[in-house]
Each structure stands twice: as C-alpha cells, then as structure tokens.
Symmetry: C2
C-alpha cells in the first residue's frame, strides 16, 4: 500500500504539516472538554439525532455545559432539531464560533455550511476508472475541522451524533482518542438489530471505546385517540440480546409524535412535555449516562 507522501510527492509534506498542526489544535480544544460521548447505531433513521438533541437539552437543563457536533456530513439534521438552522457562523481570534441552539447550546453541523436545503454533499471520483475516491478523506477532514477550528470553550459534555454505517467509524473515532463512551441506539425490529449488532462489534472490538449502553428507541406508540400503547415494531427482546453481548441496557423510549413535531418546529420536547412517558424515559437514560461518567 502506497503512503500519502509517496503519492503526492513534494507537495505532500506541506499538507502533512497542516494536518499535524490541526491535530495539535484539535487536542488543545478537546482537552478543555471533560466527556466526549458518541451516539451511534449503524442503522439510519432510528433516532440518533433526536436522542442526541434531547440528551443535550436534558444535561443543559440539569446545569451541565454541553455542545453537540453533527458528524453526519451527508444527512445533517441536528442543527434543525436544536433550533440552530440558518445562523451565520462567525470567526474570532478564538476560532469559529458555533451556532447556538436551544438554551444556547453550541452546535456545529455541515448543515450550517450548505447554501441551500437542496445542496447535497458529493465527492465524486474524477473518472470512472479512478479506483479510489477522496470521500473518506473529505469526511474526516470536515470533522477534523469541526473539532479543531470550532471554539467549543470549556464543556462538561460534547455529544457527537455519528452517521449511519459502520465503515467510516474507525476514521472518525481516531480523531478522538479520549472518547469517553458510546451510546448505541436501536429500534426494536430484528432488521434493525441485525445492523446494530455490527456497530456493537465495531465499538467493542475495533474502536475499543467504552460502551455506555444501548437505548431502545421507538419502543411502542401511544395512540393519541385512545391512549393505548400499541406496537410499532414487533418487540423482540432487545434487553436480553444486548445484555447477552455484555452491553448495559439503558431503557426504552416510546414513540411520541410530538418529538418529531418539536424537532420540526424548533421547540425542545423536554421543555414542553417534561412529564410525558417519553420525557421520563429520557431522564432515566440521562441519569444512567451521568452515572457512567460519575457526574452528579
């Protein structure tokens, strides 16, 4: 396997120096953040971003300083969920100032850089016969910049909402050697579990990062007409299988259509409906995350 330097020749050392300096800045920024938490699932659409946003709001309401980083470069939705869309980013001597979402929570997302809703992120190989694309590189580069050039300041928690898929995770997590823990999200369906199992393998065996536990999201639906808790996905015994893999089970979050409405309208669900079943479930999970980090 050829190395980057072999390929880019003389120009390479300059780029390598730049990357090195950026990694130094990144380390200095990250040293000011106590706990870095990755939210992952492998599968898309299971509610990673929604859980990231609500966990951030919960921790902030409880007096912790918290920031959120949308590591999904392709389908960024966290800025919208945090009520931070459309803000112009400013750069000061301290670095890029993140957008501020609900409760002034700092938010960084590719969404803040795209000129229109319709703009996709595309990295195209220059010719059909080019046998590599710059894709992995571009994604990691963008995240390295979000981590190294953003003025996060001192934080108790930085929550990273990871993209779906397993193949890109190693390169993302390499940027954060002191990742404190990963929170894994699934929905009850066996199809989802099949994909999520692969993520657990990645977290445990490849990334070797501590796993905080698994959250079962969309666990049932409360009918807004009759109040019955109905089945949304067939409920395999998620708790049992995840515990058999040696992963703590953190709890179930029932589906509440008001969460999606809150995300769309830009008002935090946990502020509007703190005593809902779903709100209570979030608080239980938040408590377990804090216990994991021995934070009171």
């Amino acid at each position: 396997m050829k190395k980057y330097r072999d390929i880019v020749g003389d120009g390479g050392s300059h780029i390598l120096d730049q990357v090195g300096q950026q990694m130094d800045r990144l380390k200095a920024r990250m040293d000011k953040i106590r706990h870095k938490v990755a939210i992952m699932s492998g599968k898309g659409g299971v509610g990673k971003s929604s859980i990231t946003a609500n966990l951030a709001i919960l921790l902030s309401l409880q007096g912790h300083s918290v920031g959120v980083l949308d590591a999904d470069i392709n389908g960024p939705s966290l800025a919208k969920m945090m009520g931070a869309r459309g803000q112009k980013l400013k750069t000061t001597e301290e670095g890029v100032q993140p957008a501020l979402g609900f409760l002034n929570i700092p938010v960084m997302s590719m969404d803040l850089f795209l000129p229109t809703d319709e703009t996709p992120v595309i990295w195209d190989a220059p010719t059909q016969q080019d046998s590599f694309t710059w894709r992995g590189s571009m994604e990691v580069t963008a995240l390295r910049e979000f981590l190294s050039d953003t003025d996060w300041g001192n934080l108790d928690f930085l929550l990273l909402d990871l993209p779906p898929g397993t193949d890109r995770l190693p390169n993302i997590v390499k940027l954060l050697p002191d990742l404190g823990g990963t929170l894994i999200v699934t929905i009850p369906s066996e199809v989802s579990q099949l994909v999520v199992k692969k993520s657990i393998s990645v977290a445990k065996n490849i990334l070797k990062t501590p796993v905080i536990g698994l959250v079962e999201n969309m666990a049932g639906y409360v009918c807004s007409h009759c109040g019955t808790l109905g089945e949304l996905f067939p409920s395999g015994n998620v708790k049992e299988w995840v515990q058999s893999l040696g992963i703590p089970f953190l709890g179930k979050i029932p589906f509440d259509s008001r969460i999606s409405a809150s995300a769309d309208s830009g008002t935090p669900f946990l502020l509007e409906y703190p005593d809902s079943l779903t709100g209570q479930a979030f608080r239980e999970i938040g408590k377990k995350v804090k216990e994991f980090f021995k934070v009171s």
Copy 2:
C-alpha cells in the same frame, strides 16, 4: 489529481484490465434486464428496503420476473426481508447464483457474504495520516461484482436498494448508465424532507437519471386497538413540496406494524394482508411504476 495508473505503476494496467473486463461482463448481464430501478432516499430508516422488498413481491405476483440487489453494503437488510438469509451461494459456469427469496425472487446482498450477524464491513485507512481511504473504491468494487458476476438471467425488473447518504451515489450509479428510473422515499417529517431534498438534487442534476416519483412512507399509524389513523410524524404537505420540485407524487403508505413483523418473520406482507390499507397503497404505487415504464 493523480490518476490510478500514476499511483499503482506497472501493476496498475493488470488491475485496469480486470476492471475493464468486469465492466464488459456487467454490460452483458445488464443488457438482459429490461428495467433497472433504484430506490433511494438519502436518509436512513425511511423504509427503502421494505419498499424494495414489497415492490419486488408485488411485481412478481403480477407475473413479472424481478430481482433485487441490496446496494447497502454497510447495513444490508434486504436478504432478511426477502426471506433469503443464510443461503449458501453457488457458482456455476454462468456465474454466481443469487440467493432465492420469496416467490423465488433472486436476491444479492453483502449480508450473504458476512460470516456472522456481528461482522461489520470496515475499510480502515492504514495509518492516521493516510489521507485517503479505499472506502469508496471497495463499495463500488463490491457492487460491480454483484452486478457483473451474478447470474441474474433475463429479468423484467432489477430493483436496487441504495444506501443512505448522497455522497456515494454518483459512483454507484455510474455502474448502471442505463438506469431506467429512481424511486425516492421520504417520511413526512420536515427533518427527513431536508435530507431527501438533497437526494432529489443528486438524482435530477448530478446523476441525471429519470425520476419515477416520490413515495411518502410511514404516513400515519393505524391504532391496532381503536382503528384510528393517528399521526406518526407531523404531516407537512409532502405532495405539494415534491410537486413544486417537478417530481411526481406516487402516494402515501401508512405505517403498519405487521410489515415489520413480516420482514422479521420472513413472510411477505403483501401475501398475508393484500387488502390492508398498506397493501392497497403498495398496489397503487406499483401501478404507477409500471405506467412509468409502459408495462402492463
């Protein structure tokens, strides 16, 4: 930008020859398939695989020969949904024989190649400073093999279930220059629409492939207790915004928890519940897909 040949040197021509031969085989195979349809959304978890599986079953029940290709290398779930998991693949003189799902529909998926449920697909850069990964390449290589080395035989339809994300789509679609049309899937939430808009841009402006139309999935939930059609996601006017983008609106599919149960248990929903609201919705959409291809 350096070209593949510049990097790999002498060894490169051999690999390029191999790729060239593979593309010739791919073309010969694809010439025997009348209509290639890509199912995409950009967003994960909106039901691409479920729609692919049920559309394949519907077309097959109506007498068309159809195959399905799971282009989601990271989170393959189509083999399970088609009841084809765990089959051993055989190779004959004609090529790799695909697994056979419900109604003997041929299925190809990375899932059939992974030794255990837990095995993730990972392409890791060799060192942290290596500024590119082989990821894009590996994914395209796997799909090129699925298309070129699988003995699909003569088919009326090949349905491709594309992975979430927009950045990889151009390289995937380059493999199929005669792609007949794309079917775009969203759920009603604004957050999903934000991501799906990017896919529509990719389909229309970058891939320049014909768009069959958009399907609104998970459009409401029928309570199994009281039968009321409740809201699952807040229903923005999907039909209106998609038509304003010049994309036909193909219809709404309400959420039916029995679909997920069917996918998990390996029995086709459309065979078990043909007259359900959701079954009727699938038939309406199937009809529009066939009208698009002028197939009776």
